[in-house]
Every structure is written in structure tokens, then in C-alpha cells.
């Protein structure tokens, strides 16, 4: 792992690192089990872009030996955004109430169009099947709306008189909120979305799913949980440690499907080259420390690999809730 540490300038504490892969509950492909991590064939949901596919096929035969430093650096430098996504019911629940969505478009032609991506995590709540319905309706509605109001006009080059992106995103979420209220009156859901245009991320957020920005030096939580315990932490009434075990830690004060009017946190963020954007439901962050997320992402060859490992890690810690992870890797 030395080459990775050097590459990222990371300091690795022996005890705080992620569990070795042998300890992970969910079996991983053989190739992943040995350390240092090496390139392994990932899930079929992983996007395989032409530029990486060739690399992958070239090195796959050597999957049991470590890659040279140069090879890995070359691999990390992608021409386009790549992503992985993974969602799991966990070890306790009987149904998965999370919904996740990933979409990415890139065009090479004489007409200049920025790369476009839309990534959503929605964590539903409510009895019966209301939770999964609420998150499903939300992910689908936001995706349909954003595609038709932002993506299609952009691709068509017809952006005159277009509302600003955040407004279009906001309308999409309001629409999703109305749909949840209409179709799943007893359900609710979180909604955290990143719409990527070029290297600018438009982030919309309601609830306690999270987005982290991961660079070689740091992991930063970009979103703020709309939860009671988060408010108590902000008011110095609770320490983060106390919050982790608080009986009301799952109490949200804002979610979709709760009220006709929904207040959405909106922000824009320029994503540095080679940075990662991690979207996840609380099933991940309740079980896995930021530092561990950071280590796992750094030590994974592909975004999909990182998603699988993160889900496995959360399951290994008990998997008390549904676990969903979407990871984007910016080119650079």
C-alpha cells in the first residue's frame, strides 16, 4: 500500500484502517482479498468507459500481482467522470427502502457540450411499503424532471430563456415532493442529489443522506443533516459521540412528503480534478467513520470497487439499516 500512501500523502494508522478484506462479511472477488489492493473485475453495474475498458482488459490477467505505481496513476487519470453505485438491504431489515440513481452523458463532437451527470440517493421511511415507494417515486420524478428541463435542452443547445440550473433542480424536487404527498401520503423520504455539469456540482439536499467531497488530502461533508441531533450538536447541546447513540438520532425535521412546501438546501461546488463525490444514505455513515470512507475510497481501484467495499464494511458492522452508496470520480 506504500505507493498509494505516497500517491495520496496519506498517514495510515494501523487500527483505524478499514478491516482487511478477509474480515469483511460479504465475500469479495478473490482478487480483492490480497493486499495491496489490486485491480479487480468489478460489478457489471460499473460503467465501463472506452478509455478504462482497454486498460482493464490489459491488466486483468495480472490481477493477482500488484500493479506498478505508474500503471495505477495512469489508470486514475480518466478522461471522463466515472462512477459506481451500490445499494444493499443490510443485515437487519427485510426490505430496502433506499433508491439510488446514476446517469452520465458525455459527447465528443464539433459542438461543445459539457459532460452531464445526475446522481440521487433517496432514503425512504414509513410503514408497510411506504418508505420504498416514497424513495422510488422521488428518484424517478427528479430524474425525469431534470432530464427534460436541464439535460435535454442542454444537449439540444437550446438553453435560451432556460431557468437557472438550481431553479430547475428545485422545481424537480418540488414536483417529487408533490408526487410523494399524492401517491404515498404516509411515506416520506430524504433526497440528496448532485447534478454535474462540466466540473461544477449542483447539490440539492433534504434529510440526512449525505454528500462528501473526497480529495487526496481530505474528506468533507458538504451537506448538513436535517436531523434533531445535528441541531443539538450545532447548539453545543450534544457532542457528536453522544449523538451517535442518541435515542432520537433518526429524527428528521425535514424530508420530502412531509409538507406541501419543502425547503431544499442548494449549493454549487466546483469539483477539483481527481476528486471524488460520495453520496450515501445513513446506513453507511452511521456505521463507517469518515476516515474509513476516505481510506476505502483511496484504496479502491475503481469507484464501483469502493462502493462494494463500503457496503460490505457497513454490513460487517451490523448493517442495521439499508446501505446505499454512489461514488463519482472526477477526471484529471
Amino acid at each position: 500500500m506504500n505507493f498509494l500512501q505516497r500517491l495520496f500523502g496519506a498517514e495510515k494508522k494501523p487500527n483505524s484502517s478499514i478491516a482487511t478484506n478477509d474480515e469483511l462479511k460479504t465475500p469479495l472477488p478473490d482478487a480483492v482479498k490480497s493486499e495491496p489492493p489490486i485491480l479487480a473485475r468489478t460489478d457489471e453495474t460499473a460503467p465501463v468507459l472506452p478509455s478504462t475498458a482497454s486498460l482493464e482488459s490489459k491488466f486483468i490477467d495480472g490481477a493477482t500481482r500488484p500493479l506498478s505505481e505508474e500503471t495505477l496513476i495512469a489508470f486514475l487519470g480518466n478522461e471522463h467522470l466515472t462512477f459506481g453505485q451500490s445499494s444493499d438491504v443490510g443485515m437487519v431489515r427485510t426490505n430496502n427502502q433506499d433508491a439510488i440513481y446514476s446517469f452520465f452523458s458525455t459527447l465528443r463532437s464539433s459542438e461543445e457540450r459539457p459532460d452531464f451527470g445526475l446522481f440521487i440517493v433517496a432514503d425512504g421511511m414509513g410503514g408497510h411499503h411506504d418508505g420504498e415507494k416514497a424513495s422510488a417515486v422521488t428518484a424517478r420524478t427528479v430524474a425525469v424532471q431534470v432530464t427534460s428541463t436541464i439535460f435535454t435542452p442542454m444537449l439540444a443547445g437550446d438553453t435560451k430563456d432556460q431557468p437557472p440550473i438550481t431553479e430547475a433542480l428545485m422545481s424537480a424536487i418540488e414536483k417529487a415532493n408533490a408526487e410523494v404527498i399524492r401517491h404515498v401520503p404516509d411515506g416520506g423520504t430524504t433526497m440528496t442529489a448532485a447534478c454535474i455539469i462540466g466540473d461544477l456540482a449542483y447539490i440539492a439536499h433534504v434529510g440526512d443522506s449525505r454528500i462528501y467531497l473526497i480529495t487526496k488530502d481530505s474528506i468533507d461533508q458538504l451537506t448538513r443533516d436535517h436531523s434533531l441531533v445535528q441541531r443539538l450538536i450545532e447548539l453545543d447541546q450534544l457532542t457528536p459521540e453522544e449523538a451517535a447513540n442518541h435515542p432520537n438520532k433518526n429524527m428528521l425535521y425535514r424530508a420530502l412528503g412531509q409538507n406541501e412546501l419543502v425547503e431544499v438546501d442548494m449549493m454549487t461546488r466546483r469539483l477539483p480534478p481527481r476528486s471524488r463525490l460520495l453520496l450515501c444514505s445513513d446506513g453507511l455513515w452511521n456505521q463507517v467513520e469518515n476516515k474509513e470512507m476516505w481510506d476505502t475510497v483511496k484504496q479502491s481501484a475503481t469507484p464501483q470497487d469502493a462502493c462494494n467495499k463500503l457496503v460490505a464494511l457497513a454490513n460487517q458492522r451490523g448493517g442495521g439499516d439499508n446501505i446505499s452508496v454512489v461514488l463519482l470520480s472526477m477526471p484529471g
Partner: protein, 642 residues
């Protein structure tokens, strides 16, 4: 109603209707007549007590069922219930609903209470538009009394724990009655799933399990806040009352009452009233004394908390004196510039004046053929001061001597301020063109036609020249003058674009009233922020906040990433000049004749200085003076005060 138990998390029995039906007789004594209300944890029935055969005695029955599946836990819950019901049954106060009986049956607990004919305060809030302030004060005093009664119970004080409008009944005589106790909460532990909605009224420490009489005082404050503002705290982030000042929603409220509610709502229980008696006395003082009796000491208290800054008032009352003033022969419509010991100002009297920066004495002047509205700009490399004139020309003078180095003729007035970058001068003209000239010789590199007057200042990055036009378009040109993208606002753009080169976002105001954020790399707008007047003032960004004025009279500070308003500062007249920031202080001039100095982080006024005419252009900081021109013909040099 977003109660904490909206999603109880019980998958399975939620649909089973276990409500007692009308005419069912409970315990051979209480004949159910109907349902009065219900929540996640139980149902309230109206019933008739059959033991009273001759009179129609009505009771309210609260039924609570435990959702705990574990038998031991359930038993312990019922035990707690019995203990607490015992305490309540012993209470006797005219404002507390009497408990007649309690029992448990089939894992359900029943509380038999006096039936109160009336309406709870929550219902009353939804049914009315306004409640008389006198009545609110009367109820508040009575609530203090009853809470005080509970808090003084021996051996242990009783904490109500659940003070909120829906637990306060107003009976048919208009008197308050407390109808519910925290007892119901015995039954909600063990809920693990994610829930939406908070209680809204509970004190922060209650969530740590610390409950004291001060917690009731907080909830009481929250209840009063809800009643006075009519903003339901359950729909807002928890503990955010201070973000919704009462006077913003209800200007008729006595400011002293606002202070009382705010004191009750302090996060720290030690900062609240010590007892309900203390709070009651404060409220009573309002009721029986004229409003202004309390206002003087109250004011002092506000300043202690950092609310207003009295120190600064002393400056306003005349402590700030200009170091020097310079009177030109006509209005000053543009910003001054300064370099080394020189200060420059253009005037509508046709001249650019060069003055000694420390004394204001004339060094040289240069007369053009018409008035000057374009702010002079210094080109240090070529020792030039450059500016445009209403005579259609653009001038470059040697800044030491005032001798003309070169000039350039456009086809209309030049009112825009120039930008000197990459060895070139970029400026716009009313002829619709943006010009790029060699700074050293005035030779034209290119001109780009925007089809409408360009009055703003181009912003030049390492790759792009971004400029707004009266056509409403914001256009990005390559350094070679080729169009890269344009973004159309709905009205003319006079405000100069500002680019955060780090984030790659361009901010620009439009006379359509919006401030826009546009992605520099592709011209897509990320957000727009609405003001209620045309924006002519140019924005600046500082530490993540964007500052600009609007013709609606406000100076805004908004979060540059989210466009959320951080604060605004209201003046009486439109603001057309651009703000500047120096050492965390923000300076701007208004058309109300004042130059304002605000704390950039919170928008609090530090001082203001009155000129004798509207200020239409930005001030300029030069070392230890602020230079600002006014329509009163005068250039003021004010000392920088910290």
C-alpha cells in the same frame, strides 16, 4: 400534523382498527360516545360516566397503547404509567384538568379525565387570524401560575414536559386548562425507525434526558412564540426561534414581551427565568404599565448582547470629519482612483482632476469635450490613468503630468469603466462595442459588437473577457475577441460582472432585478437571486458571501454557493453604487446621500457619513483614507476609522 410518531415504525398492526366503538361500555362504567382526537400513541374519547344515572356527566378518556413487543418492557411502562397517574390524580388546581380514575386493560392504559368543553389553543390558532394581545397576556399569566403550582409540588417538582398549544384548552369561559401531561411519553420509547418531524416545543436539554422546571419555561416560551408569530415550530428546524424574530411577523407586539419570550427561549437553561413566578412578574409588568416604562433598560440589555453598537453612534454624531474635500464644478458620478500620493476623479464638469491624496490640493486637470461619467483606472505599468468621456473618446494620460499619451474615438459616449489586464485596455461604449486596445499605444486589437450600450466594466480572466450589455446579455469573449457564450437576462445589464476565478463563477446583476450566478466555463446559469428593484450596483465576493446593492434600497449579502440571504441592510433610497470591502468592513454609498460603513459579516452599521447629494459610484480605499464622490460635486477624503 407532523408529530414525532407519525411513522411509528410498526409494520403490521397499523391498519387494524382497534378504536373503541360508540356505545361500547368500558369497565362497566364509561359509555363511549365518540372520538375527540387521536395521535400516534393513542386515542381520546368522549364518554359518559354511567355511575351518574341522573346527571349527564361527561368524561374524556385517554387511551394509550404500548407498542413494545417485549413483555417485560411493557410491564415496566405500565408501572411507570400507574406511578405517574397517581401523582396527577392528587393534583388540585383550577387550571388543571381533573383526573378521576386510571386503570389498565389488555395492555392498554386508560386515564379518565374531566371533560372540558372548549377548544385547544392549536385549534384556536388555526381558526382565527388574530388573537387579542390582552387575552394572550392573561393566558400567559395563568399558565405561569399553573406551571408554578406544578413546579412547587412536594417532595419533587412536577415538570409538565409537554407544554404546547394543543395541550392548552381554552374552556367555554375563556380560561386556560392544561389537559395533557408528559405521561403519554412513557409509551413512545423503543421506536427505532427514522421519523419525520420534531416536537417543536421541547427544550434542548430534554433530548438529553435532563428535565427541569426550566424546560417547561422553554416550552412555554416556544408556545408563546408560536401564538405571537403564528409560525408553527414543528415545521421549522428545531430550536430556531431566534431566526424568526417575533416583530418580523407581528409588529404590534410590545418589544418587552418579545424580550420575555426570548429570555424563556435561551438554549442554556441557566439563562432563562429561574422560576415561573419571575416570568409571571415580568409579564404582569407589561400588563399594568405603559409600554415605554421598560424600554430604556431593555435597550441597554440589547447592546450588551452585541445587538447594537453604541460606540458607533458616537461616530455618527459628528466624530467623523473629512480629512479634506475637493469641490469640482459639476456632479461626480464616477469612482475615484488613487496611486501613490495621487488621487483622481472625473467630474461632469468635463475634467479629470488629479489631486494630492493627503491634502486634496490640485496637481493637474485635464479637460475633455464633455462630462465624465467613466471612472478613471490606473495602468501602473504604463504610468497611465485611463477613462472615457461623454465626448465619445477614450483617453490615456500620463498620471504624473496629465499629458495625453493617446486617445481613441468611439461612435458614442464612453461611460463604462475600463479594465487593464494582459497589457491591454478593455472597455465598453454606448455604441454597443467592447474594445480591446493596446495599453501602451491605444491601438485597437479587436472590437466586439453587443448591439446595445455597454456601461459596465468588463471582467478579464486568464482566458475570457466577460461583459454585460444593455441588450440584457452577458457575453464571454476569448482574449482574441471571439464569442464563447452568452447568457440572456430579461433586461439591460449595467452592473459589472464579477468573477470568482477560484470557483469559476461569474456574478452579475441585471435591471430585471435579479442577481445571476453563471458558470464561467459554459455560460449556464446556476442560480438567480431576486430583489425588488433593478440591480445596477456591481457585486463583489468576499469569503463566500456576495455583496451588492439594489434599487429596492437594500444592500444584500448572500451566500455565493447557495444564494441564500445572509443579511440585508435597508436604506431609504435606491443603491446604485457598488460596495467595497476593506478589513472586514463594507463601504457603500446610497442615493440617500450617505456613505455607509457596515460590518461585512453581519451587516450591522458601524458608521455613516452624510454628503449633500446622492452617491452613485463606489468609494475607493487609498492607504488610510476613503475617497468618495457625490452628486453634490464634491470628492470627500475620510479617515479610515476602525
Amino acid at each position: 400534523m407532523p408529530e414525532t410518531t407519525q411513522f411509528s415504525g410498526v409494520g403490521g398492526d397499523g391498519n387494524q382498527d382497534t378504536t373503541l366503538k360508540a356505545n361500547f361500555v368500558l369497565q362497566n362504567r364509561y359509555k363511549i360516545m365518540g372520538v375527540l382526537g387521536g395521535g400516534g400513541m393513542g386515542t381520546v374519547y368522549q364518554a359518559r360516566d354511567l355511575n351518574f344515572t341522573d346527571v349527564r356527566r361527561l368524561v374524556a378518556i385517554k387511551e394509550m397503547h404500548t407498542i413494545a413487543t417485549d413483555a417485560a418492557l411493557r410491564a415496566s411502562m405500565l408501572k411507570t404509567f400507574r406511578r405517574e397517574a397517581n401523582i396527577l390524580a392528587a393534583l388540585s388546581h383550577p387550571a388543571i384538568v381533573k383526573i378521576y380514575d386510571y386503570f389498565d386493560l389488555n395492555d392498554r392504559a386508560y386515564l379518565i379525565m374531566e371533560y372540558v368543553n372548549g377548544s385547544d389553543l392549536e385549534l384556536l390558532l388555526s381558526k382565527t387570524r388574530e388573537l387579542p394581545n390582552d387575552k394572550i397576556l392573561e393566558w400567559a399569566i395563568d399558565l405561569c401560575d399553573v406551571l408554578d403550582y406544578l413546579h412547587n409540588q412536594k417532595p419533587d417538582p412536577i415538570v409538565f414536559r409537554d407544554m404546547k398549544p394543543s395541550n392548552v384548552m381554552i374552556d367555554s369561559l375563556g380560561k386556560i386548562r392544561l389537559i395533557d401531561f408528559g405521561i403519554a411519553k412513557t409509551f413512545v420509547s423503543g421506536v427505532k425507525h427514522t421519523m419525520i418531524g420534531t416536537e417543536g416545543y421541547s427544550a434542548p436539554e430534554q433530548y438529553k434526558g435532563d428535565v427541569s422546571p426550566q424546560s417547561d419555561i422553554y416550552s412555554f416560551g416556544a408556545t408563546l412564540h408560536h401564538v405571537l408569530t403564528r409560525k408553527d415550530p414543528r415545521l421549522e428546524p428545531p430550536f430556531s426561534f431566534h431566526e424568526r424574530p417575533i416583530l418580523d411577523y407581528n409588529a404590534d407586539i410590545n418589544p418587552s414581551l418579545v424580550m420575555i419570550v426570548e429570555k424563556a427561549l435561551n438554549f442554556k437553561s441557566d439563562d432563562r427565568y429561574k422560576t415561573c413566578v419571575e416570568m409571571k412578574e415580568a409579564i404582569q409588568a407589561l400588563r399594568y404599565h405603559p409600554v415605554n416604562v421598560l424600554s430604556a433598560p431593555d435597550h441597554a440589555q440589547v447592546s450588551e448582547n452585541g445587538g447594537t453598537d453604541f460606540f458607533n453612534d458616537s461616530i455618527d454624531t459628528g466624530a467623523i470629519q473629512p480629512r479634506w474635500v475637493f469641490k469640482s464644478e459639476d456632479e461626480i458620478r464616477c469612482s475615484p482612483a488613487a496611486i501613490k500620493d495621487l488621487a483622481f476623479i472625473g467630474s461632469y464638469d468635463n475634467n479629470v482632476w488629479a489631486l494630492n491624496r493627503d491634502t486634496g490640493e490640485l496637481v493637474w486637470k485635464y479637460a475633455t469635450m464633455s462630462g465624465i461619467a467613466s471612472s478613471p483606472v490606473i495602468d501602473e505599468a504604463n504610468r497611465l490613468v485611463v477613462f472615457g468621456s461623454e465626448d465619445n473618446s477614450f483617453y490615456a494620460l500620463d498620471y504624473r503630468s496629465g499629458r495625453m499619451n493617446w486617445s481613441f474615438q468611439t461612435k458614442d459616449r464612453v461611460r463604462g469603466m475600463a479594465r487593464v489586464e494582459h497589457g491591454h485596455v478593455f472597455f465598453g461604449s454606448d455604441d454597443g462595442k467592447v474594445y480591446a486596445l493596446g495599453a501602451a499605444n491605444g491601438r485597437q486589437l479587436w472590437a466586439y459588437d453587443t448591439t446595445a450600450p455597454v456601461r459596465g466594466r468588463p471582467f478579464v480572466t486568464n482566458e475570457l473577457v466577460i461583459v454585460g450589455s444593455e441588450s440584457g446579455e452577458v457575453t464571454a469573449l476569448s482574449l482574441a475577441g471571439a464569442r464563447k457564450w452568452s447568457y440572456r437576462t430579461r433586461r439591460g445589464v449595467i452592473s459589472s460582472p464579477y468573477v470568482d476565478t477560484q470557483e469559476g463563477i461569474c456574478y452579475v446583476g441585471s435591471t430585471d432585478g435579479f442577481m445571476y450566478a453563471v458558470d464561467v466555463s459554459n455560460g449556464f446559469s446556476s442560480w438567480r437571486f431576486r430583489t425588488t428593484g433593478p440591480i445596477i450596483s456591481s457585486p463583489i465576493e468576499h469569503k463566500g458571501l456576495l455583496y451588492f446593492g439594489s434599487a429596492d434600497g437594500n444592500l444584500y449579502a448572500i451566500n455565493a454557493q447557495s444564494s441564500r440571504e445572509k443579511w440585508r441592510f435597508a436604506t431609504d433610497k435606491p443603491i446604485v453604487s457598488s460596495p467595497i470591502i476593506h478589513k472586514e468592513l463594507l463601504y457603500f454609498g446610497g442615493t440617500d446621500d450617505y456613505l455607509y460603513c457596515l460590518d461585512a459579516t453581519n451587516g450591522k452599521e458601524r458608521w455613516k457619513f452624510k454628503t449633500n447629494g446622492p452617491i452613485t459610484a463606489a468609494a475607493c480605499i487609498a492607504d488610510d483614507v476613503i475617497l468618495v464622490g457625490s452628486m453634490d460635486h464634491t470628492l470627500y477624503a475620510l479617515p479610515l476609522v476602525n
